[in-house]
């Protein structure tokens, strides 16, 4: 048994890393919006899905024109990020802002709204794709340049080229975002709005604008993640966002919500947990408990971590001063 585990281990860790980076990128969007509005933006999983859909469509239409696979991917990333970001802004503008203007303090109201928006986006995409191509499943077109694969460590790891692209892009995004939030004026403004919206406006900050930008940034990150997800896992549907979205949010909580490196770390940890138990549970339990328990194990570990560190892995303790 141990031998079986060990031979596969490098592969499992590598695959877990890919999944982890996807979660991490989506988690960033959750964490940013949560950071500013204390809102679990459930619709973010649909923003992610929209990115994936745009990615598929870009490949579908531009692959014949654009010879270079990397260029094609770049186009898909930019367009996917843009459309997703704009959708996020629109969602904020038309669904969340009216609530804010009403001064609703109840936390559940925006939450329910977010869930409603989720449903709307899912079905809208389904409607559009239904009319456009009469397809429910969207399949990412295969482009030769991106398809290669290599074997690392004497065949211990089978790695696709696109997996490296995925990891590279997400690391770039994390570094960029960390810089943005900690080092730039926009970053400080985002944090200020997050902590006290009306006082922020007393500093000359336009909260609406900052919030829009937060949604734009978080949304485009989600969109980019979606494109990469579609590239990696090839088949998507209008409902594809739900599960990764949920897990990404869990990852954000795990890492300490509102905390950007935390979201990244949380995503990676969750990806590893899920992939590890997904692959090994049947072996570990002698076939009694299979892959389907991977989420159970992941959640139980999440709870365990939260019990030991209620603020999440990298979260700060914010004790209310009495």
């Amino acid at each position: 048994m141990l031998e079986q585990i060990l031979t596969l281990l490098p592969q499992v860790i590598f695959d877990g890393l890919i999944l982890g980076f996807v979660y991490a990128m989506v988690a960033l969007g959750y964490t940013m919006v949560y950071g500013v509005l204390e809102l679990i933006n459930f619709a973010h999983s649909e923003i992610f899905m929209i990115g994936a859909v745009v990615g598929v469509e870009v490949f579908r239409y531009l692959a014949p024109q654009v010879e270079n696979g990397l260029l094609l991917l770049l186009l898909a990333l930019v367009l996917g990020g843009a459309v997703a970001g704009i959708t996020a802004i629109l969602v904020e503008r038309f669904a969340y802002r009216p609530l804010r203007k009403r001064g609703t303090t109840n936390r559940l109201v925006p939450l329910i709204t977010a869930i409603g928006v989720s449903f709307i986006l899912q079905d809208l995409v389904r409607l559009i794709e239904g009319l456009w191509h009469n397809e429910f499943f969207l399949r990412m077109r295969t482009v030769e340049d991106l398809e290669g694969s290599v074997e690392l460590f004497g065949g211990a790891i089978f790695a696709q080229n696109k997996s490296f692209i995925l990891m590279g892009v997400s690391i770039l995004m994390l570094v960029g975002l960390t810089y943005l939030v900690n080092r730039t004026k926009l970053g400080v403004a985002i944090r200020a709005v997050a902590q006290d919206l009306s006082t922020a406006s007393l500093m000359g900050i336009d909260p609406d604008r900052i919030i829009s930008r937060t949604f734009l940034i978080g949304g485009s990150l989600g969109g980019v993640a979606g494109v990469l997800f579609a590239l990696q896992y090839t088949t998507i549907t209008p409902y594809v966002g739900f599960l990764p979205g949920l897990k990404a949010f869990t990852a954000a909580v795990l890492g300490g919500i509102g905390n950007i490196p935390g979201a990244m770390l949380g995503g990676l940890v969750l990806g590893q947990l899920e992939n590890f138990f997904g692959t090994y549970l049947p072996i570990l339990t002698n076939g009694n408990f299979g892959t389907e328990y991977k989420d159970v194990v992941a959640f139980l570990i999440l709870i365990l971590i939260l019990l030991l560190r209620p603020q999440g892995l990298l979260g700060q303790v914010v004790k209310e001063k009495v």
């Binding site: 499992v12 999944l19 499943f137 088949t235 892959t291 389907e292």
Partner: protein, 369 residues
């Protein structure tokens, strides 16, 4: 005076492609029978329900259906997992159901007087697949996967049982509801010892398609086999032409080409709906006609009045008719006395109609008196 026939099948979501066939097949049959029933003094109406391939939705719909007194028969479902609980609901009011596609043995083994099917059963289909794999493909070690539905799991179990009886071995037997990330299972396949020579997947094309694509992309070349859940052209699109080519599958609803009588109907179908008629469309057409035949008999027996549901259910069980797919006649459990089974292989052209028909078997349902 209205008589309604309901269909229940997935009309939205991943399995809509097959579910739609059921609805349209039944619709065609009912359109064609309208005039006849008008003459008997009844307006025939089709009411399609969308069960979303989800047992919960199916049961909720069933509750709605039984509360509409005009509905006297149901054509459905696509999925055994939905058909089994829903038919319990129909049984409460003796509402007759004729299934064109449900292959799980339990559908009829419960001996509900209102439940019938015209297609084959998985306790034949699974063994047919196992025998082909063991005897013809000469494989011993098989990695068995199922989708955890009544259909997929049941089929995979029947396959495994026969395989092991023949002397083969299931190196793993795993269920999964995963739809996008198959990496953990693929890794399990790569790590499985002894090395599997075949992967058997009891499930539906919507899940198997993406699975095959990821499997092949990751360089696993092991052959693949499935059941009637693979029998949809969408499979090729989702898996990719090259990846799908060569996949073996058994099915209970043969292609149009296997039924000479179906050709004309398929043409009308194409004309009316602008779509090709596939296997389950043909079976649904027959299933609807079985109900209509029973209905007609029941109306006669009731002296031209609207019969009760119980009367219709009894009449349907007695029906004997020649359908597109052959003779249809139910045994005491509601199974078709003789059903057909097909072994197929996916063509490399990407055209579903080109798939190779390897063999056809006609067999009685096991366990009938």
């Amino acid at each position: 005076n209205v008589i309604k026939i309901a269909t229940q099948s997935p009309l939205s979501g991943p399995q809509a492609a097959l579910g739609e066939q059921i609805k349209l097949g039944a619709e065609l049959a009912i359109e064609e029978a309208k005039a006849k029933f008008k003459a008997l003094g009844f307006d025939l109406v089709l009411v399609p329900y969308d069960d979303q391939a989800n047992p919960d939705v199916g049961v909720a719909n069933a509750n709605r259906i039984i509360n509409d007194p005009d509905i006297l028969g149901v054509v459905g479902h696509l999925n055994s997992g939905v058909a089994i609980p829903s038919s319990e609901v129909y049984a409460r009011v003796n509402l007759v159901m004729v299934s064109p596609a449900n292959t799980n043995p339990r559908v009829t083994d419960r001996r509900l007087p209102n439940v019938n099917r015209i297609c084959g059963r998985d306790d034949v289909q699974g063994p047919v697949g196992a025998e082909y794999a063991f005897n013809n493909l000469k494989v011993k070690n098989v990695f068995v996967i199922h989708d955890k539905t009544a259909y997929g799991q049941g089929l995979a179990e029947e396959f495994k049982k026969r395989l092991e009886a023949l002397g083969g071995k299931a190196v793993a037997f795993v269920g999964t509801e995963e739809t996008s990330n198959f990496v953990p299972i693929i890794n399990q396949i790569r790590g499985a010892r002894p090395v599997p020579e075949l992967i058997y997947f009891g499930g539906i094309y919507s899940q198997i398609g993406p699975f095959v694509k990821q499997l092949r992309e990751r360089g696993v070349k092991t052959r693949l086999m499935g059941g009637d859940g693979l029998d949809a052209s969408e499979f090729v699109r989702l898996a990719g032409k090259e990846n799908a080519a060569g996949t073996f599958y058994t099915t209970v609803a043969g292609p149009v080409s296997a039924f000479p009588k179906a050709r004309a109907v398929a043409q009308r179908f194409k004309q009316k709906f602008g779509k090709d008629m596939e296997g389950f469309g043909i079976y649904a057409y027959d299933a609807a006609n079985v109900i209509l035949a029973g209905l007609e008999a029941a109306i006669k027996a009731a002296g031209g009045k609207k019969p009760t549901r119980e009367q219709v259910a009894q009449a349907v069980r007695q029906v004997k008719m020649e359908g597109l797919t052959g003779t249809i006649e139910f045994d005491d459990k509601g199974d078709n006395k003789k059903a057909k089974y097909f072994v197929m292989q996916v063509a490399s052209t990407g055209n579903w109609a080109d798939n190779k028909l390897i063999r056809v078997i006609e067999m009685a349902a096991p366990g009938a008196k």
